[in-house]
Symmetry: C2
Subunit: 209 residues, 2 copies
């Protein structure tokens, strides 16, 4: 009897703005088809071609606030006038199916998830240098000089939260970062504390091949 | 300034007899040239072409016993009339150079190392099934039927020590086991608690690329 059915891993990809979280996640998802990206809920209105249950779960404010009250979020935040959050139900349903689920979130969000789901794998994406981080923030071309300075200063401070994470991955190239995350996930799936069943299984006559 | 000089990892490869520790280590060492195999000290006499400092460090009994007294071993054992042990000096000298060092040892040895050097990476090599383990023990052709039964029973009991280890690697094929160990070592080198320096380094203007 083969018996390696088990829950997927919750992979929290976080780090300062400009570290390249989004690009790294995209590269990882492309090569790891048993992994999905979590979908957030929000109270803001759909834009352009955004679709319910694909881009976001769109909720009205009373519904969102009721979900907060019922503890239905892994993390949530209010940004200006709108709520954003990660619904537990969507994440847990896919983990139960054995799929890994990626949350790509900022540091405040990651700290909330860690409190509610410490068995997740918390990965901090780090720019190769502050110089490079500045270059990346500037080269987006979407920020005013003031916003750039603010973003850079906040990235600098955010690096201090690194010890709340399990792993740090230097994003020097997308490919390196992606393959380091693949190694981390393979290693995590080999951790003894995630494989308590193996000892009994093997002694009970099950096979792993 | 590039600043990722750091100590290598002590990799403890252990598991029941017949799991294939030796073959897996050999495959790993072949593909990872920055990793060396630790050399044991022993009081037994050199055999055939065995060379001092290559096969073993050959010691007379008073010297070996003095080394025990001085705490110079990561682990040691008396097998019949001879001592065998892992000298700290050899291991630590190579770790300091940034090389990873593999100890391929039995479970009793691994438990001793864990007490003295808990920052090692403790990997338990597991056969894919007890059936396969039995087949491997029998197919060596070196044991009497009684010895085979004894070895099998002891392997069965040894599996209970798995929760003293960090990782379990199923040795279904040498290549799978080798590449899982490679992932584990990459992941361990990305652990935040092994990279305390990165945060200060990056903020201080160092680069990682």
């Amino acid at each position: 009897m083969k018996s390696n059915n088990r829950d997927g891993l919750l992979i929290v990809i976080s780090g300062p703005s400009g570290a390249g979280k989004g690009t790294v996640c995209k590269a990882y998802l492309k090569d790891n088809r048993d992994t999905i990206l979590s979908i957030s809920a929000t109270t803001r209105n759909p834009r352009g071609s955004e679709k319910e249950g694909v881009s976001y779960f769109f909720k009205d404010r009373p519904t969102f606030e009721a979900m907060i009250k019922n503890g239905e979020f892994l993390e949530y935040a209010k940004v200006y006038d709108n709520y954003y959050g990660t619904p537990k139900e969507y994440v847990f349903r896919h983990l139960k199916k054995g799929l890994d689920v990626i949350l790509e979130i900022d540091i405040q969000g990651a700290l909330q998830v860690k409190k509610r789901f410490p068995e997740g794998v918390f990965i901090f994406i780090m720019p190769p240098s502050m110089e490079e981080l500045k270059r990346r923030i500037v080269s987006r071309g979407t920020d005013t000089p003031d916003a750039i300075i603010k973003r850079f200063k906040s990235a600098y401070d955010e690096i201090n939260y690194i010890d709340q994470y399990n792993y740090v991955v230097i994003n020097d190239t997308i490919d390196n970062a992606k393959s380091t995350i693949e190694s981390i996930i393979t290693a995590e799936k080999s951790r003894v504390d995630r494989n308590k069943h193996i000892c009994n299984d093997i002694q009970g006559g099950n096979t792993y091949d």
